[in-house]
Amino acid sequence: MSISARDVGVTYSSRSRGELVALQDINLTVESGEFVTLIGPSGCGKSTLLHALGGLTSPTAGEVLVDEHRLTGPDPRQAAFIFQDYSLLPWKSILDNAAIGLRFANVPKAERQAKAMDMLELVGLAGFAKSYPHELSGGMQQRVAVARAMAMEPEVLLMDEPFGALDEQTRQKLGYQMSRILTANGKGVVMVTHSLDEAIFWADRIVVMSPRPGRIIREIVVDTPRPRELDFIADDGFGEIRQELFRLISEPVTEDTPTVTTLSGARP
């Protein structure tokens, strides 16, 4: 399976601010089994692109194709989302949360619970099946969200800054564990991140985007085989890519962003 964006553009129009071009001329193909990370300055439309790839946002220009078929809405059996805020349903148990997509697909109860239980085991939370989301830490809740996505047996996981709300240590540990699990299960991943390290550690291919209007300005291939060990971060190749990414992202910005003079002028 492959998901591809063809000349995709997304424009928001609002009464107060007029037209806002979030994405422009996006061409990107993601093959199943491939890890792609999306990185760029904040507000560059990374999340919008991810939502468009999964059918949560409809492009206002161009189209998204899944195996040559035009995508019209989300299909969790092909591409399942993992959101930054976990977004578990607080009134459902962990098991029912992990099974929610199967519930929506009307899979019989015994079958969906067995599947969800397998996935909770995979992320190491089988002992918490009967708990409720508010009883779990942030990192654990995000693992439930991973189990919920995996239960759909999707080809590709679409992850929107999945570790963004976690502290640095949990973030690194969980990221490492999840990248191993997903590699072992042959899943493809598209991940939005603002962390340079995360972008390189996860990726077969890093897609770098420009500030608004979001465009793809560069694709960088990382050819170190996955799964990678944590010490890959200390590798020379890693450092080179990191420098290159840093340069691309912190390049002087265009004139439509506020200038430094106005900021310092406002200081008392």
């Binding site: 959101f83 607080p90 459902k92 929506f104 759909m152």
Partner: protein, 275 residues
């Protein structure tokens, strides 16, 4: 993987234990103060009966009231009156809850509808609809029908208002999950929207129930052929102050039990969030 969790969960258990003892202490204090308040009331009452020389029409002797209360709770007439009142409240409340929730749900589905319906609901909520009672007596007679219809009318507005608010404030995060995981529109309505609104809907129902209780009892006191309000009005018309006090106490207990049941029913267990 569970190693990462064990450290934080041990700490969580430790704080939970001390939080539990704190909670128990707090509960004991609250109950002790409640009992103290009751003792003060009884003390003032006894003082008024004895050294205070308050007229027995204003404040009948506590002993007499308790005797009447004892007779009241074993008399079939009291229980049939309680049944009439309960039945009127239940019908008016259920009708208002169903109709009010449906109207609220329908109105919340579009900004135009919400704009039109919300001020109407607020008006019905605030206006003293009880002033329509003489007309309702004219239309439906002095039997239970006039109480049920007026109580349903008074109850429906707070429920429309509350459910409209509830359905409009469903967290978009839940709707996004529903969409991303392939929920049909019907599944989104029943499994996400309705469930997500339960805490707010529950408080709308509690307010509505209070309206229903007040309206039914007041209607019975003013003009009726049965019910707790009716026997209360009759006792005071016969200058039976002690009997009236006994009935009042019974009504207060009746309402308290009802409220307790409603609170249990409409307070969902797992609505706390940590996000």
């Amino acid at each position: 993987m569970t190693v990462a969790a064990s450290d934080t969960s041990t700490r969580a258990v430790a704080t939970r234990v001390s939080a539990k003892t704190r909670r128990v202490r707090r509960t004991i204090l609250v109950w002790a103060l409640r009992v103290a308040a009751l003792v003060v009331i009884v003390g003032l009452w006894l003082y008024g009966n004895g050294p205070g020389h308050v007229s027995s029409l204003l404040l009948p002797s506590l002993g007499n009231v308790l005797v009447f209360f004892g007779q009241l709770v074993v008399s079939p007439a009291f229980w049939s009156a309680a049944w009439t009142t309960l039945y009127s409240m239940a019908i008016s409340f259920v009708v208002a809850a169903v109709v009010g929730t449906l109207i609220g749900f329908w109105a919340a589905r579009g900004p135009l509808r919400a704009k039109v319906i919300e001020p109407l609901a607020v008006w019905g909520y605030m206006a003293p609809l009880f002033l329509f009672y003489p007309l309702f007596l004219l239309w439906f007679g002095v039997g239970v029908e006039s109480k049920i219809t007026l109580a349903a009318l008074s109850t429906v507005f707070p429920i429309i208002y509350g459910s409209l608010r509830a359905f409009r404030s469903v967290d978009p995060v839940y709707l996004r999950v529903a969409r991303a995981y392939g929920a049909s529109p019907r599944q989104t309505d029943w499994m996400i929207k309705l469930r997500a609104t339960l805490p707010l809907l529950g408080s709308a129902f509690r307010i509505g129930a209070a309206y229903s209780i007040t309206t039914v009892l007041a209607g019975e006191v003013l003009s009726s052929t049965g019910g707790l309000g009716y026997i209360l009005a009759k006792a005071s018309q016969l200058f039976n102050a002690a009997g009236a006090f006994a009935i009042l106490i019974a009504i207060v207990l009746f309402v308290a039990v009802l409220q307790l049941g409603l609170n249990r029913l409409f307070t969902p267990r797992h609505d706390s969030r940590t996000q």
